[in-house]
């Protein structure tokens, strides 16, 4: 521990020293960059001096600081798809510039991965980073016309989809709980609607998406695999706007506008499905699904107010729910399930001095799952969830053009509600134990510096110190050797049960070989204090979030990554090759043979078992960024293994989401101002699964004996989608567009799951077993009409 603190201090010292050493006669230009037509602040705009080519990019809030030697320069601000801003400046004092960029008259929806300086691919220290712009995603084929940013993220190398009916994603061999998903800085615990067929993010309300899968900077933490940072739109502060869309299964509406022109604005965006209403007439009266209803909705709102040139405040909220109900009179059976997230973020940006920027955030985040069922005399309720109260201070300090320093702190109070249940039979309460809640303090301190050591070498280094505390009130059940509860220990409110302290080093280095190519390497260590325990073979909302406790130790991940980046033809083509190795300790799984009810009147963590995971692989990426034809090809070759002493007799096995080959091909062709055509093709090695190897007879019934865990592969998954987008003429106050998509063009029956059907009976002395594959979606066309006025 002491050694780590010493390391931390010497790092701080070195860093301060290097800044002092470079103090010369320099001046600073700082300010905000925004979109002229909407007033939205632009993240990732390039700001530089033409003569020296020295520059920077705007941060998440559109703020930039550029410090350089005294002199005359041509000051340039640019952003893909916008007219470049250029101005002669005479730098003899510190300047403040707020720049507005005008969208190019003909919107070239050329590329999907964008928002980068022309050579950002090779010039930055970023590895395994993907940025996407929502407007571009909208032109790609969409499943049932629902634009889904999570699905588009899965088309990039190293990010794997878990398959159809599963919106969670796997990054470089990590589990779905190892991705930190942030919506305006609030953690979203369950990012999917309808068991993963759709993501919770309404594309109309989203401004920017950034995924980091390697070299995670120190300002992020708490997850091993990746950070998906999603920013909501701020709202047009120039004029009122209404846009929306009518699709096959859902409709959307977004209203935005100024509250006070140039100073404050709002946006409100909603979405609801109507599958239930559409399907109702087709459900037969005798059908088992009679009396069944399902829908989901979500609502995004955001208000921002510019108090002064130095202060801005933002208030944003998200609320979404999935609601399912079943009412079968014949069986006197009633059931209702609902789940969803609610988040609220309050943020305050303050510019202390041009070089020092502070963002303060207060965040509330809540995920809930509730289920109630009644059958004749039985009445059962089940619920689980997570609630966070989060406070953050994030400073950005720009001492000079060579350093970009971030430091800050974060405190989260977590309240976990793992599966709790109440049940009644004939009005008598069954004892399912007391309501269990787990309370945790989660704190972090970090410092991170992006340092241009020379023109060729850039270093992005940081340290994150984390402290996690599991506190009372809590009742620990003590089990005997055969897993029976024999006693319990009670911890008082605020009593410290277990504390974990760790330092996480992060380092990325870029070496520029020449103008067009560079080599990058990164090393990161992360601790993860919260875990998702999945009872079933696929992710369901019933999965339980668990904190680290005195039994569950934090997950610990180490990743080494190396990459070669090269651009061709004036940065028109970007290519990269990355290799990685990742080690993950303290991975969790439920013990073999444990059933959901084992969590009742017991501590969930008593049913968990722990092991190690590791993965390695390489990712190849070719991206054509400009021209009539754009698109990319991504290929990932990867290996992911797990080893648990109590699973599979202690023998290592392929992880469920081990994916040998993963290919994505995305093509987009802009035919003219009206028509854009795109196509997607994906290929993925089948999921690993456990299969029965023999069967035997117990009590006159056939049961299975299973083979080694995950030793069988499902058939490979592949699919092609195509789409055509027609953008109508731009009227004075009105514009509309049509998106025609065909999902699964060649009607491939991809495996969703495999099961075995046994017919006949042992008592009839005749049995037959057949393997069956269930596929979800055949060829599915869809149409969506979008409008804007």
């Amino acid at each position: 521990m002491l050694k780590r603190i010493t390391l931390f201090l010497s790092f701080l010292f070195l860093f301060t020293f290097s800044i002092i050493a470079q103090q010369q006669q320099k001046y600073t230009i700082s300010g905000y960059v925004k979109d002229a037509s909407t007033g939205e602040y632009m993240m990732g705009a390039n700001v530089y001096m033409k003569e020296t080519m020295k520059g920077t990019q705007t941060n998440q809030y559109g703020y930039f600081v550029l410090t350089t030697e005294k002199g005359s320069y041509t000051f340039i601000t640019s952003f893909m798809g916008y007219t470049e801003y250029s101005e002669k400046v005479n730098l003899t004092q510190n300047l403040k510039k707020n720049i507005t960029l005008q969208e190019k008259v003909i919107t070239k929806k050329e590329i999907v991965i964008t928002g980068e300086k022309e050579n950002n691919n090779t010039a930055s220290t970023d590895m395994g980073k993907v940025q996407m712009e929502v407007e571009k995603i909208k032109t790609l084929p969409a499943f049932l016309g629902e634009v889904d940013i999570m699905k588009t993220i899965q088309l990039t190398p190293g990010v794997q989809s878990a398959g159809e009916g599963n919106s969670s994603f796997y990054v470089r061999g990590g589990g779905p709980d190892q991705n930190l998903i942030l919506l305006d800085e609030a953690v979203v615990y369950n990012a999917s609607h309808l068991f993963g067929f759709f993501s919770v993010f309404n594309a109309d309300a989203v401004k920017n998406i950034e995924l980091t899968k390697a070299g995670m900077p120190a300002n992020y933490g708490g997850r091993l695999a990746s950070v998906l940072d999603i920013s909501m739109k701020e709202g047009n502060n120039q004029k009122y706007n209404v846009d929306g869309g009518i699709g096959v299964i859902s409709s959307r509406l977004t209203v935005q506008g100024p509250i006070k022109k140039d100073t404050s604005s709002f946006i409100i965006s909603g979405r609801r499905t109507y599958i239930d209403l559409l399907i109702k007439p087709f459900v037969k009266k005798t059908s088992a699904f009679k009396g069944t209803g399902y829908y989901f909705y979500d609502l995004n709102t955001k208000v921002n107010y510019r108090l002064s040139d130095k202060d801005r405040i933002f208030l944003s909220g998200y609320f979404g729910r999935d609601i399912f109900s079943l009412n079968q009179k014949d069986l006197s059976f009633k059931n209702s399930i609902s789940w969803g997230n609610a988040t609220t973020s309050f943020r305050w940006n303050h510019v202390f001095a041009p070089k020092l920027f502070l963002n303060t955030s207060l965040i509330f985040s809540d995920y809930k799952f509730e289920m109630g069922a009644t059958q004749s005399e039985y009445d059962i309720k089940l619920y689980s969830g997570v609630r966070d109260y989060n406070a953050k201070l994030d400073f950005s300090y720009f001492p000079n053009t060579r350093h970009k320093v971030k430091f800050g702190m974060n405190y989260i109070y977590h309240i976990f509600t793992p599966n709790n249940a109440t049940a009644k039979t004939s009005g008598v309460d069954l004892d399912l134990g007391k309501e269990v809640k787990l309370y945790c303090n989660d704190a972090a301190l970090y410092i991170n510096d992006e340092w241009d050591v020379t023109d060729r070498i850039k270093i992005n280094g940081g340290l994150r110190y984390t402290c996690f505390q599991f506190t009372g009130p809590f009742e620990r059940y003590i089990l005997n050797y055969s897993n029976q509860v024999i006693d319990s220990v009670y911890y008082k409110k605020f009593e410290n049960i277990k504390t974990y302290n760790h330092v996480e080093p992060r380092l990325s280095i870029r070496y520029g070989i020449n103008e067009l190519s560079s080599i990058k390497a990164s090393f990161t260590q992360n601790y993860q204090y919260i875990h998702l325990a999945s009872v079933t073979a696929i992710s369901l909302p019933t999965d339980i979030w668990m904190p680290s406790t005195n039994i569950v130790e934090p997950q610990f991940g180490t990743q080494y990554s190396l990459g070669y980046f090269r651009n061709y033809r004036k940065n028109m083509w970007e290519t990269s090759v990355e290799v990685y190795y990742k080690d993950m300790k303290n991975q969790i799984e439920f013990k073999e043979g444990s059933l959901p009810e084992d969590n009742i009147k017991n501590n969930t963590d008593n049913n968990l078992t722990f092991g190690r995971g590791w993965s390695y692989g390489s990712e190849f990426f070719i991206n054509k960024r400009t021209g009539k034809w754009t698109g990319w090809i991504g290929y990932t070759l990867s290996y992911t293994k797990r080893k648990f002493p109590e699973i599979n007799k202690g023998v290592e096995y392929w992880a469920k989401y081990d994916r040998r080959h993963d290919v994505s091909v995305i093509l987009s062709y802009e035919f003219n101002d009206h028509w854009t055509f795109s196509a997607i093709w994906v290929y993925a090695t089948g999921n690993a699964m456990t299969l029965p190897i023999s069967r035997y007879i117990i009590n006159g019934t056939i049961v299975n004996e299973y083979g080694p865990k995950n030793s069988y592969r499902m058939p490979a998954y592949h699919r092609a989608d195509i789409s055509a987008t027609y953008t109508g003429k731009k009227h004075k106050n009105y514009q509309s567009s049509w998106n025609f998509s065909i999902y699964n063009v060649y009607n491939r029956y991809n495996p969703y799951y495999i099961y075995f059907q046994t017919t006949g009976s042992i008592l009839d002395y005749h049995i037959e077993t057949q393997a069956k594959q269930v596929s979800l979606f055949p060829i599915l066309p869809s149409v969506t009409w979008n409008f804007k006025f």
Binding site: I486, E592, G593, Q757
Partner: protein, 292 residues
């Protein structure tokens, strides 16, 4: 309780299918590695009764299995010995068409007694398998009755009132037998219980009739129910932890097999020496219900 949990998962599965009601299904062939031949032991000793042991071999996974193959599964040349530590009882081959398999091994010296431990030794195919079980104290049901379900004409469930003794670690297994209709005791649907949920309490619960084989092709119009006119013997047994673990995982496998939402898990056996199956002692309490 267990039934409700199971239903919840069935509902979730149903919900899935609801959305993919036009999902496609096709037959595929799957290459499964050859599995080794294993001995399956299903043995029990009831209170005041002789031990019985069924011995079979496991089956290959795919393909059609006909009567000759099933007969070949039955192990006919084993030595089966049950002991209480003092007395040894070598079980004799017995034939009874009401059981499956109809050929099994039955004792004639030792009868089950409360609190005693019983050791099983099976020698077959050059291998020796052993196991241990105990017969716990039987716990009586306070009362039992039949009630017609709403919306049903003459079908309903059996009900019982029960008082669990204080202290955790009580496990139960329930069977019923309809006189004339059933030839043997059949475990109820969700037959295995742990008193974790109702320790020391008095409560009432319903029993859904199990079928003698869930793979049966014939449709039973009384499926899950008892009918007015039935005379039913309820057999409520106390069992030990190993018996509980076996039947809990075995029933989990029987009900969830093929359900993609469940992680397949091995059935926990208490047979030592590489065999499959269970050796269980039952502390039996019986009661009779006339359905009216």
């Amino acid at each position: 309780m267990k039934r409700t949990t199971n239903q919840i998962f069935q509902i979730i599965a149903g919900l899935f299918l609801f959305f993919v009601f036009y999902s496609c299904e096709k037959n595929i062939s799957v290459d499964i590695p050859e599995s080794e031949e294993k001995v399956v032991i299903e043995g029990s000793i009831d209170l005041n009764d002789y031990p019985i042991v069924f011995l079979t071999k496991n089956l290959p996974y795919f393909g059609v299995i006909d009567s000759s193959m099933i007969y070949n599964l039955i192990i006919q040349d084993a030595t089966v010995i049950v002991s209480d530590g003092n007395v040894y009882d070598t079980l004799m081959k017995t034939f009874d068409i009401n059981y499956f398999p109809p050929l099994f091994y039955k004792g004639s010296i030792i009868k089950g007694e409360v609190g005693k431990t019983y050791y099983l030794t099976v020698k077959v195919l050059g291998k020796t398998f052993t196991s241990v079980t105990t017969i716990p104290q039987p716990i009586p049901l306070d009362s039992t009755w039949f009630k017609v379900e709403p919306h049903q004409d003459s079908l309903g469930y059996l009900w019982a009132k029960f008082t669990d003794p204080p202290g955790t670690g009580n496990y139960y297994r329930l069977f019923t037998k309809r006189l004339t209709k059933d030839k043997i005791f059949v475990p109820i649907f969700g037959s295995i219980y742990d008193d974790k949920f109702f320790n020391g309490q008095q409560f009432q619960f319903s029993m859904m009739r199990g079928s003698s084989s869930i793979n049966s092709t014939t449709v039973d119009p009384e499926f899950g129910f008892y009918k007015i006119g039935d005379t039913v013997i309820v057999k409520a047994c106390s069992v030990d932890k190993a018996t509980y673990d076996f039947w809990r995982t075995a029933e989990g496998e029987m009900y969830s097999s093929g359900n993609p939402f469940m992680t397949p898990s091995q059935i926990i056996t208490n047979i030592e020496g590489g065999g499959l199956g269970v050796w269980s002692g039952y502390g039996v309490y019986t009661d009779t219900v006339i359905c009216k």
